[in-house]
């Protein structure tokens, strides 16, 4: 359906610009068309090749590297990583971006070059030298701008404008940028008795991904090896993916993983320096630049390994109708990585040794992503709602003529440091304009200067002139946005693009008044907000109310996304999209926004702990000038991790934008474990050190709680958490498949390991066996009836194919004690509310999993678990009860231990 809409749009564009013939009459199988049409005459030029690129002429596949050209190419494919190729050897040839492991057919006829996607994903950007088309099963689509194409079964393809959801094209933007070591961190240390720095050997990298709703929590475990016979201080740098939320850091100290805690930045630094002086084990993680975080690690012991774990949260990438997890590993700059493993939701996806080249991975997520996700915390209920309104407009047509685009550049004093980036955004944006589009550049501070009267075509010459004008203006004065809007109104543009920090410092500064002036222009206003003080506080409202988009632009990736979103999203859009705030809720987005057809908005809200979940949410806005209202019915909320953090991140952005007090920001940041500009992550050696410096061990508690929860939900009698204390890799019990008494351990060691041996504390040693169905090494073991309660450790020894030994530990708990419970009945109307609570027994987690009541008629009522260790239910007798009534209450824990008590009804 989306393809059809898109096709309509693109064909409408085709008609409007008058270029080429209409090709939608071509029907039939893509393969047939490709086979009968001649190979591409235009020379294929390899612009960027990250992995392996092959081009097929006749029947021969030829490998290509960056800079190569080949004529008469029929097919092209990529392996391992992506590539950019030009469909022609001129500077203005169409550009084809190919994702890793993609395969396309290239043909050419009198109308232009045709691209049919056979496998994988591609992005095609039009070029002036030759017309370009996407072949699909149902015909072909002329590309007048920039489109993303996904292969679909049976020759079908999903084609959509890149600008409608630029984040889906992030992989292609990454191909345009220099490699910056994505995916893993690197550690440097000083060469002995020298000022030179050298890379520390990275022996193992384990990437463990767990999905939580539409988010992914990625844990990257690095094992570095200090090869010299000298203790050193290391500097670890890690590139957090664009848009990721850094939530955790852990470091191995004395064989135990110690969680980092979020601490106010200055305090963290002071504590770190003091501890380094005392020769203890601290680590301090701070933001360095761009997406890079820097961690100072001390000590790197002589000839020893050091394990560092980084944890971050990203959004799953929405592709077509599904979601996927994307991971990119750049060619390691520090030399080969000894071994690399990636698992997603426990399933191994990649295991390789001696990694010297980069890898791009896309892992489809098979589980259904819930529409409503919720997390209950002590201070409230946090809920994320995915909203994808149906924005059909009968007879909708995109703009049919050339657009006149006014680009405003902030030249006020605040642009002093961001001038270079402003010009980069200008350049990237102008280069994305369609050939028929025209533009003008307006320099705005308290005064206005215009590049030229009227609008001119988007040529390189015009771009140079515009940049020259901006460079000639000394950044000075304040920013008078009201005056700017008045000028824009008079300029009669069809679209406005603002590039600046987004802050009004002169004249009218009230958001609502500025919004009125912006709306008066009557066209979409998009904003790229750049610079240190860049804020969306004002522009989210201005853009949202006008049908544009505003984005904070920090990186080149952001620049690409913005330029595409601002210039290549000519689709149905919901302007001034606003969600009605449920009573008592703190909701994000808190301002109006713009939603494009097919786009999804995720609303995140905090509700009071006792507030009911609203049954629906009201979305209002304007489509093509007509009012729009939709009541979105909320599906049952699915408990999901880290929704609270998601909300806190939005809240922190809002607070930072509104210059909220540092103390408030630090408090929220530490409460939710979300880094802010005022906080750092600090790892200290032990509990005593944290106590000494009065640092709350919140993350450690959370980690332990998560482990307890995992234990409580796993197998009875034997419960086990993930192996993490010594283990480079996760070994785990398989509670879903095994009952008490004979659990199994799953060890995701590589298939080519020589052996995997598991030693148990009670004297048994077993050889694990590779299980082809589970893709892991498995071993079954027995627990003797006489084994006392307690936590035990199984030791896993992996002998790798190269003879290297790896030793891991797996804790498990033997529990034979029945749960201790209390029960209370409260009369409610004609019935009773019954509440059964498990009492904590020493340090054991509350692990009751089932509570049943035997009613007077002998029937059994099961109570529902309302929180860990608490079970509740309501019972109304069919007839009035006489005399004292005693009910039997049965409770069972995860280990299938049972207890019984009596409950006398009041």
């Amino acid at each position: 359906m989306k393809t059809n809409v898109l096709k309509t749009i693109l064909l409408a564009s085709l008609v409007s610009c008058g270029g080429g013939a209409k090709h939608d009459e071509i029907q039939g199988n893509v393969g047939t068309v490709v086979a009968t049409r001649p190979a591409m005459k235009a020379t294929l030029a390899a612009i960027t090749v990250r992995g392996e690129l092959f081009a097929k002429q006749s029947d021969t596949w030829t490998p290509m590297i960056s800079g190569n050209t080949l004529p008469d190419v029929r097919e092209v494919k990529t392996e391992r990583r992506g590539a950019i190729v030009a469909l022609g050897d001129s500077a203005d040839a169409p550009l084809l971006y190919l994702r890793a492991n993609s395969h396309v057919a290239l043909t050419q006829d009198g109308s232009g070059v045709h691209v049919a996607i056979l496998e994988g994903r591609a992005r095609l950007r039009r070029g002036a030298s030759v017309s370009s088309y996407i072949d699909t099963e149902s015909g072909e689509v002329i590309v007048t701008g920039d489109v993303l194409v996904d292969a679909r079964p049976k020759g079908r393809a999903d084609v959509r404008p890149t600008g409608a959801r630029p984040s889906a094209a992030d992989w292609s933007f990454a191909l345009q940028q220099p490699e910056t070591g994505a995916g893993v961190g690197r550690m440097e240390a000083r060469v002995a008795r020298s000022d030179k720095m050298e890379n520390i050997e990275l022996r193992d990298v384990m990437v463990d991904v767990k999905t939580a709703g539409d988010q992914a929590i990625t844990e990257v475990t690095h094992i570095f090896h200090n090869a010299i016979d000298e203790r050193r201080e290391g500097t670890f740098r890690f590139p957090v993916p664009d848009g990721a939320l850094l939530v955790g850091l852990a470091m191995e100290i004395d064989g135990k993983m110690v969680e980092g805690e979020i601490v106010e930045r200055e305090k963290a630094r002071a504590v770190y320096e003091k501890i380094v002086d005392e020769m203890l084990d601290p680590a301090l993680l701070e933001w360095e630049q761009g997406n890079w975080f820097k961690l100072r690690v001390f000590p790197l012991e002589a000839k020893a390994d050091k394990k560092v774990v980084i944890r971050y949260v990203t959004q799953l990438s929405k592709q077509g109708n599904g979601f996927e997890y994307d991971y990119s590993l750049a060619a390691p700059e520090q030399g080969e990585i000894g071994s690399f493993h990636l698992t997603v939701d426990g399933k191994p996806q990649l295991a390789q040794k001696n990694i010297a080249k980069g890898i791009d991975l896309s892992v489809p997520i098979a589980t259904k992503i819930p529409d409503v996700m919720t997390e209950k915390r002590a201070d409230g209920i946090y809920t994320a709602v995915r909203i994808a309104p149906h924005l059909a407009v009968p007879g909708f047509r995109t703009s049919t003529g050339a657009r006149d685009i006014a680009i405003v550049i902030d030249t006020s004093r605040s642009s002093l440091e961001s001038r270079a980036q402003e010009l980069e955004v200008l350049e990237t944006t102008v280069r994305q304009l369609a050939p028929q589009d025209k533009f003008t550049v307006i320099a705005a501070d308290v005064e206005i200067q215009r590049s030229w009267p009227g609008y001119v075509a988007a040529s390189e010459q015009a771009l140079r002139e515009a940049k020259k004008m901006i460079e000639g203006i000394e950044p000075d004065g304040a920013s008078d946005l009201a005056n700017t809007f008045a000028t824009l109104d008079a300029a009669d543009p069809s679209q406005v693009i603002y590039i600046g920090d987004g802050i009004a410092t002169w004249g009218e500064q009230r958001t609502d008044e500025l919004a009125k002036l912006a709306k008066k222009i009557g066209v979409p206003v998009d904003a790229a907000l750049v610079g240190k003080g860049a804020s969306t506080a004002l522009w989210a409202e201005l853009s949202g109310e006008t049908g544009g988009r505003s984005m904070i632009v920090k990186s080149q990736l952001d620049e690409q996304r913005f330029a595409l979103a601002a210039t290549q999203a000519d689709m149905i859009r919901l302007t001034n999209a606003t969600l009605e705030v449920p009573a008592g809720a703190v909701l994000f987005p808190s301002t109006a926004t713009t939603l494009f057809e097919g786009e999804e908005m995720v609303a995140v809200m905090k509700l009071p702990a006792d507030a009911p979940m609203p049954a629906s949410m009201k979305l209002t806005g304007t489509i093509s000038g007509a009012p729009y209202t939709e009541n979105i019915q909320l599906a049952a909320a699915v408990p999901t991790d880290r929704v609270g953090q998601r909300w806190a991140r939005q809240m922190l952005s809002k607070m930072e934008a509104s210059n909220a007090g540092k103390e408030e920001v630090v408090a929220l940041s530490t409460e939710f474990g979300v880094m802010s500009k005022y906080t750092s992550l600090l790892v200290l050696e032990n509990d005593e050190a944290y106590k000494k410096y009065e640092i709350d061990r919140k993350n450690q508690r959370e980690a332990e709680k998560a482990q307890q929860l995992a234990q409580a939900t796993t197998a009875p009698t034997v419960t086990g958490g993930d192996l993490d204390s010594l283990g480079a890799r996760e070994a785990s019990l398989s509670p879903d498949e095994v009952q008490p008494g004979d659990p199994e351990i799953k060890i995701p060691a590589p298939i080519d390991a020589q052996s995997v041996v598991v030693s148990f504390p009670f004297g048994e040693t077993k050889l694990a066996v590779w299980d082809t169905d589970i893709n892991a090494w498995m071993v079954r073991f027995l627990i003797d009836q006489q084994t006392p309660d307690g936590t035990y450790y199984a030791r896993v020894t992996i002998t790798h194919s190269d003879g290297r030994l790896e030793v891991l530990q797996l804790p498990y708990t033997v529990d034979t004690k029945a749960p201790i419970i209390t029960a209370k009945a409260t009369k409610v109307g004609a019935g009773y509310h019954i509440r059964v609570k498990q009492t904590r027994d020493g340090t054991r987690p509350k692990d009751a999993e089932r509570v049943e009541i035997v009613l007077p008629d002998g029937s059994i009522m099961k109570l529902g678990m309302t929180e860990w260790g608490v079970f509740e239910g309501d019972w109304t007798p069919d007839a009035a009860l006489t005399g004292p009534i005693t009910l039997q209450v049965f409770a069972r824990d995860n280990a299938l231990n049972q207890s019984t008590i009596e409950l006398v009804l009041p």
């Binding site: 004395d254 064989g255 009875p716 010594l726 498949e737 095994v738 009952q739 008490p740 008494g741 004979d742 199994e744 020589q754 052996s755 041996v757 030693s759 504390p761 009670f762 004297g763 040693t765 077993k766 050889l767 066996v769 299980d771 169905d773 071993v779 079954r780 027995l782 009836q785 006392p788 307690g790 035990y792 030791r795 020894t797 992996i798 002998t799 003879g803 030994l805 030793v807 089932r850 049943e852 035997v854 002998g858 059994i860 039997q888 049965f890 069972r892 299938l896 049972q898 019984t900």
Partner: protein, 580 residues
């Protein structure tokens, strides 16, 4: 090396697997080998002469350690250690301690010290009377549970040292005190004293301690350190054998081909070593190591299921696959279509044809069909419609179909038809179905962790019997066996309940006990119950039962009768009394 030991009185045949070597000791006329299946006395070539198990008087069948103390042989088992004398093919037991796993024994001063999994026990002989014994206290180390697991003892530089799972301890003034080795090297697996130097094998490598100086050599997960031909040699799990050359750890040249080493001993040039993958011997200092070839036999001691098919006994093991004993010959069933984790076996007799053997495993059901040319094996897995990967129980229905209990409900299986799942459709809240049966009225019984459910496939509501309904003493049902109008239900720790099936179902609790999965069997009028405490029997009409006192085998898992002989499986092999 696997063999059958028929012990001296020939009243009971014992079948154990002795592949896993846990300790060994060269003797003048052969070797003494401690295995998971008993104590084995071999000749010089490694050929077994005798196997002794618990039924011969050892505290337990699994041997955890062998030590020579002043010329005496001490054998540590998983339930105690004893001093033994070998005399003309018989083993004479003389003193020792019971109740706990004994891994090492040394003499220090006038006392014998036992390294056990409950600390160090001292046995003092004061005069000719029965020795007194007591535990040596420990001091230091946070994990009391770990430090109690003592793997080895050694006397270095005049002091007694104890290697434990919680670190290294040195005895001072009658108390073992924690001595630091190095961070990460907390689990000591073996000690060897060489004058003033103490060699320490740990799960994190090899160390020495001399005075207060500690040196680490690396080497991974080591299990044994000793001297061979005057040089220190260590070995462990996966890393093979290593020695020290000019202060560095290097591979030990000419080592035996054992990868998972747990035992290594040398005496006057004669040496033995072994581990998970068997036994290797060296006749003299100049001879090469030879690996002792394993012979056919029971493939593992953890027997999980038995089934009788005429003169053939089918044996399923916990994690070593399927085998059979037919006319005194053991055959291991090698097939990629049979998972090595066997949970249950069912023999399906067929008129005019050989029986089919249904094997429930952790990865589906394998159907073994004996043929003149061998066997054919077919599989039914989740791909073929089973509700879950793992299958826990099997029963044959009166109409010939097979009922299977899986890890997500049950299924009825018939040739040429897709499995009929029982669970969701019947509104059953069951996950793991540990036991299945059909009663005389055609009702199916499914034993789960929340009680037993009774009903017919087409019923939308089944009846649940549980602790809450006062029918069971424990909700975790492990075994069900029908007998006419009765159904016996065995639970994990609540013994056996007899259900009388009529218009009204009533339940009578028989004796207590911990019933193992599939552990009930009716044999004539006798109910056999395989429990964690051993085999129990009862007349089917009786209300109590008795422990079978013909022989005592702990943790009995299954029984079967083949050719008139009773076979009793346990976690430590199979025994079969000579009589009925």
């Amino acid at each position: 090396m696997t063999f059958v030991a028929a012990i001296a009185n020939a009243a009971i045949a014992v079948y154990t697997n002795t592949t896993e070597v846990r300790a060994c000791q060269p003797l003048d006329d052969g070797f003494l080998v401690g295995t998971g299946g008993g104590l084995v006395w071999t000749d010089k070539s490694g050929a077994p002469k005798k196997v002794w198990t618990k039924l011969d008087g050892l505290p337990a069948t699994r041997v955890d350690g062998i030590a020579m103390v002043d010329g005496d042989v001490y054998v540590g088992t998983e339930k105690g250690g004893v001093r033994v004398k070998l005399d003309k093919g018989a083993v004479m037991i003389d003193g020792g301690i019971g109740g706990m796993s004994v891994r090492d024994v040394v003499k220090y001063g006038d006392a014998i010290y036992y390294a056990t999994d409950e600390g160090v026990r001292i046995e003092q002989h004061k005069g000719p009377r029965v020795p007194s014994s007591k535990d040596v206290p420990f001091k230091g180390g946070g994990n009391k549970q770990a430090r109690a697991r003592v793997s080895s003892l050694a006397i270095a530089d005049g002091a007694l040292w104890a290697g434990t799972a919680g670190g290294l301890y040195k005895m001072r003034n009658g108390v073992f005190e924690l001595v630091t080795i190095e961070s990460g090297a907390n689990e000591v697996t073996s000690l060897y004293a060489d004058g003033k130097t103490l060699w320490i094998a740990t799960t994190n490598g090899l160390y020495t301690r001399e005075g207060s100086a500690v040196r680490g050599y690396g080497g991974g997960n080591l299990r044994r350190v000793t001297k061979v031909d005057g040089a220190i040699v260590a070995a462990g799990l996966g890393g093979g054998y290593v020695t020290i050359d000019r202060g560095r750890l290097v591979s030990y040249k000419g080592a035996a081909k054992i990868a998972m080493v747990q035992a290594l001993t040398e005496s006057n040039g004669v040496a033995c070593t072994g581990g998970l993958d068997g036994l290797a011997l060296r006749a003299s200092k100049t001879a090469a190591w030879t690996t002792v070839k394993a012979s056919a036999g029971i493939q593992a001691n953890d027997v999980s299921a038995l089934a009788a098919d005429g003169e053939t006994l089918w044996v399923g093991s916990f994690d070593h696959g399927l085998s059979k004993l037919s006319k005194g010959v053991w055959t291991t069933i090698e097939s990629a279509q049979i998972d090595h984790r066997v949970n249950a076996i069912l023999v399906e007799p067929r008129a005019g044809k050989t029986s089919r053997i249904w094997v429930a495993t952790a990865n589906g059901i394998s159907i073994v069909e004996p043929k003149p040319s061998g066997i054919s094996v077919s599989e039914i897995t989740k791909s073929e419609g089973l509700p879950a990967r793992g299958v826990l129980s099997l029963a044959r229905l009166r109409d010939g179909r097979i009922l299977a209990g899986t890890m997500h409900g049950a299924a009825i299986l018939a040739d040429g038809a897709r499995p009929i799942a029982i669970g969701l459709k019947q509104n059953l809240e069951v996950k793991n179905v540990w036991a299945v049966a059909e009663d005389s009225q055609g009702n199916l019984w499914l034993g789960a962790t929340n009680g037993v459910f009774r009903g017919k496939p087409d019923d939308s509501a089944w009846t649940r019997y549980s602790v809450a309904t006062k029918h069971l003493r424990d909700d975790w049902v492990m075994a069900i066996v029908p007998d006419g109008a009765q159904v016996f239900v065995g639970t994990y720790k609540g013994g056996v309940t007899r259900f009388a099936v009529g218009d009204v179902v009533t339940a009578t609790q028989l004796g207590d006990g911990w019933i193992n999965p599939g552990g009930l069997r009716i044999d004539g009028s006798t109910l056999y119950a395989s429990t964690m405490e051993g085999l129990r029997t009862s007349d089917v009409s009786a209300t109590t039962w008795a422990t079978n006192d013909t022989f005592t085998v702990a943790d009995t898992t299954a029984t079967a009768r083949v050719g008139g002989k009773l076979f009793v499986a346990s976690r430590r092999g199979i025994v079969s009394p000579a009589g009925p």
